[in-house]
Every structure is written in C-alpha cells, then in structure tokens.
Symmetry: C2
Subunit: 306 residues, 2 copies
C-alpha cells in the first residue's frame, strides 16, 4: 500500500462560463465537483497504475462531506481524519471559448492541536502497512510550522520511504528532517535555494537535507539529483494542454517506480510520461492512459556527470 497525506484537502469545483469578465454577472453553464488536494490526485494516479492507495489528511464541514462522498466512488481508500472546520473549496472558472482558467482558492480550515494529535496517531497506524508515503501540498492554518518535519521523522523511524512535495516555508522546514525525496518545480526550487540554475539548485537542495531531489522543469522534463547520480528525462516534444495535476502525476510515477524497484532512469521516464499524459488529458488532473503508454517509449533520459 502507498500512503498519501493531504493536510489541506480541497473540494475542487469547476465552473464553465462563456468568458470571465471582471465586474460582470455570469450564468455558470456547467458545474463539476471533485475531491482535490495534491495527495488525493497522487492517490488516484497510483490506483490507475494498479497500486493500492490510501489517503489521509483532514476533511470537515459540508464541503468535507461532499469530498468524502465523491472519494467513496473512487479507488483510493479514505482514511481522512474529521475536523470541525470546513474543507476549503477551490473554484476553477474555465472560459469555454479559450479554455483559459481563473482560479479562486479558499484558505484552509483552522486545525486544532487535538485534531493534529488525532492525525498524527492515524498517520502512525497507517505507516505500519505502507511501502512508501507522499506528503503533499500546503499546510492549513493552525498546524505547527514543523508539521512536515515531524511527519518526515515519523516515516524515517518507521523505515517507510518518504517523499515531500510542498513549497515555501513548509518545504524549507520539512527538508531539514531529511526526506528520501523532494519534488520541487523550478519556482519552488528557486524559492528554496535562491538559484534558477537547476543543477546548482538541486545540489543545494540535497545539501539542505533531501536524500534525492527531483526537480520538475516543465517542457524540459525532470532532473534527478541522487546519491546514485544525476539524470534528466524529457518528453520528445513540448506537450500542450492543461498542466493542472501534472506535478501530482509525476509524484505518483516516482513513488510507484520506487515501490516497484525501478532504477532512476525508469522512475523518471514514468514520471515524465505520466506528467505529459496529464497535460494532454481534456479534464484537469486526469491522465490519458493511451498517451501515457505511448509516451513511455519516447521519453529521452540523459545522465549528467557528477
């Protein structure tokens, strides 16, 4: 079983309008709701790849109930911890004509110390049966700033490989607890290290505590800096589409590859192919399985000198 943690889950709502015009009134033509948050996306992709995926984190309020009801229809196992506050909503307003998306993200619910304690207990129990764990996304208000550092240490103590995919202060503090893997994008990596030069920045991030750094570089693919070596994997050509969820699919590729014992080139190939197949899928956060399988054969992996 692979465990994913989403402390700030979201009910993702998509509105289709002809075109968003500021300060005008819009009749929404189509409403879609899906359970969201990075770890939930990762778990869905893991399940599609044939892995047993369990999701934990927090859910509460009416939006949390809807999230759990929708999650029950999907493959990942729901081990979310109930909270008094309401799960945040995100609204993606899609212009029907251009396909462009305007995003409105609510802040997360306030999590109490008792709710955090309940989560930590659940997490400890779930780590027992986990082959790997991914800690994904932002921290809701109320959590200790060192929350991810604590969860990384708990995983290391339980000898479960742990991937951290977050940004800003949460990444800075979490990385110091020595996760097996971090997966920043170019912006997150630059924010962490101050460098926009991927190789230099990835090496810097490793010095800050990450065993391996896999940086996602958009059209340039992904760069892995690990104790075993340095690899870069790229799709055959830039893919066009909706990049929402592409990073989460990459995390699922890395984690499933790790659990299946693939080497770094194999893991990167899978991550890049999944990421591209997600960009190509019409619905945000879904991936095109046929495109994924086709892409697997055409991802180019190059090894860099140490």
């Amino acid at each position: 079983m692979i465990l994913t943690v989403t402390l700030n889950t979201a009910l993702d709502i998509t509105y289709r309008v002809p075109a968003l015009v500021p300060h005008a009134s819009h009749r929404v033509e189509e409403v879609a709701e899906r359970p969201g948050g990075k770890g939930l996306n990762v778990a869905r992709v893991l399940a599609a790849l044939g892995h047993e995926a369990v999701v934990t984190g927090f859910a509460g309020g009416p939006s949390g109930e809807v999230l759990r009801a929708r999650l029950a229809e999907l493959a990942p196992v729901d081990e979310l911890v109930p909270i008094a506050g309401a799960t945040r909503r995100t609204i993606a307003v899609v212009d029907a004509v251009s396909g462009d998306t305007t995003q409105l993200n609510e802040p997360g619910p306030l999590v109490s110390p008792a709710e955090w304690d309940a989560f930590v207990a659940t997490y400890g129990r779930l780590l027992d049966g986990a082959e790997a764990v991914a800690l994904c996304g932002s921290l809701p208000p109320g959590l200790p700033v060192g929350a991810y550092a604590q969860l990384v240490r708990q995983a290391r103590t339980a000898k479960v490989p742990v991937l951290l995919d977050t940004s800003g202060e949460a990444l800075r503090r979490g990385i110091a607890a020595r996760p097996d893997l971090v997966k920043p994008n170019a912006d997150e990596l630059a924010q962490l290290t101050g460098s926009r030069e991927p190789l230099r920045a990835a090496r810097d991030a490793r010095r800050r505590g990450a065993h391996t750094v896999v940086a996602s570089l958009g059209a340039e693919g992904m760069l892995a800096a690990s104790p075993e070596g340095l690899w870069q994997a790229a799709p055959p050509a830039a893919v066009r589409g909706n990049p929402t969820g592409a990073g989460d699919s990459a995390v699922a590729g890395l984690l499933s590859g790790l659990v299946e014992g693939l080497d770094w080139p194999g893991r990167l190939t899978r991550a890049v192919a999944l990421s591209a197949a997600t960009v190509l899928a019409p619905a945000a956060g879904e991936f095109d399985f046929a495109a994924y399988e086709k892409m697997l054969g055409s991802v180019r992996v190059t090894e860099h000198a140490h």
Copy 2:
C-alpha cells in the same frame, strides 16, 4: 404573517480578493456565506420591520443544508420544501481595492413533478395564515412554465394579496394570472412591454393583467400605476453603494405597507427609503436602519395625472 416564496433559493458565497484578474490564480482572503434568493432577502427585511415572515420554496443537497442552518439563525421562519437536487450557489467575488463585484451564478437544481406537487401543498397550507405573499425570482429547471400563474391563482382564490417579482417568460406568464402587484425594474419592464418609457410601459403591464405595477427606476425612484392613481417617489439625491438586494428591500416595503394599510404614497415612500438604505449599507443585501428612518422624511412623492 407575510409569506415569501423563493423557488430558486441560493447559498450566497462572497469571496474577497485583492483584485480579480482573468486567467490568474487568487488566494481568497475572506469567505462569507448567507442564505440567499430574492424571497429570503425580502423576508429578512420584513422581519427587521417587525413583521412575522415565513419563507418557502425549495432547498436540497449540501448547499441546501448550509442554507437552512444559516437561516435557522435568522428571524424568518423556514418552511422550505426539501428536494433531491442541490440548491444553487452564487459566488460574488469582491475586489478589495475597488469594491467591484464579479458574479458567478450556478444554474438551479432540477425539480421533479412530485417535488413541485409537495411545494404546492405546502404553499396552500401556508396561504391559510398569510396576510400577503410575495413570489420572488427565477424558476429552477423542471418547473412548469406556468408555475407562477398557478401560484398567483392559488393566492387569489385564498384571497391573499399576491406580489410577483420575476422577469422574462416567468413574468410574462405570471402576470396574465392577474397578480395584485408586480415590481419590475426598468429593464424587466422594457423586456415585458417593449417600451423604455416608464409610464407607457407601466400602463401596458397593467393591461397585461397586473392590478398595480410598481416599477423601480434606479436613481429616479419608483413609479406606481394603480387603479387609485399614478405616483412617483424618489430619494432626495442619488445614493451610492452596492445595489444588491435594493429591489428585494423595496418589495418588503411595498408588502409591509400593504399589510399595515398605508396608502400608495406611504408604501412608495417606505419602499424607496428601504431601497436607498440597502444601497448605503456596507454588506450586500443588508440595510442601514438609521439611514432608512432618516430617508423616510426626505423621499419626494409626486402624483401624475391619470
């Protein structure tokens, strides 16, 4: 008791953002939720004026549950009829800097014939104790096109004065059933009659079946065309602020004035003062009671020749 009907209730959500930028991502700074729909707004104002107000219509789904929970904290009595579909949400995105609002309105839930029958029975029971009834807003999908005509006839049979405040085809069909009062704004009146000349259009609307037509004309105040005469009431000066809910406050002014036996100049004065006090209130759909009382003394009413 005054009854208000809102067939397409809404959970009104307000998001505060620094400024809405199309195709960008926004962190919502503040989220507010309130029970919405025109009849619910009318009932809140009626209650603030000291009247017992009862609301009916439809509510369902998670958004309907939130709406009812919030309504329970307010004065109006909840007689909403449960439905399987989910109450629509409306999202008002307010730019913190300019105060400008971008509106996103979900379509209403599909109402089944059995749910409509259940509503008609509830409505009949509530008419029994009502001094007046207001039928407010749009029709959700699934209702018969003649829904308002049926409710107008039911009120007339029960000898309960009935006000219809809707637009488009729902107004066109409802007015033919001879409601005591319709309250279109200038656009709705023009759409109904084809005329942008208020006096001519109001007379035309009376010929179409309304006993009295009260047209709300924005800064020019309100015009009443009734069998007793023609009056226009205007605020002393144009008021600046958020016009959301101003029309609903006017409906509350007209209905409460009717029930209290005020003459037309008295009813119009109250409607105009409430409307202006709503525009002046900082929160959309609320009204400033002190401004209302002050305004009452300064509304100018003029009588037109027949």
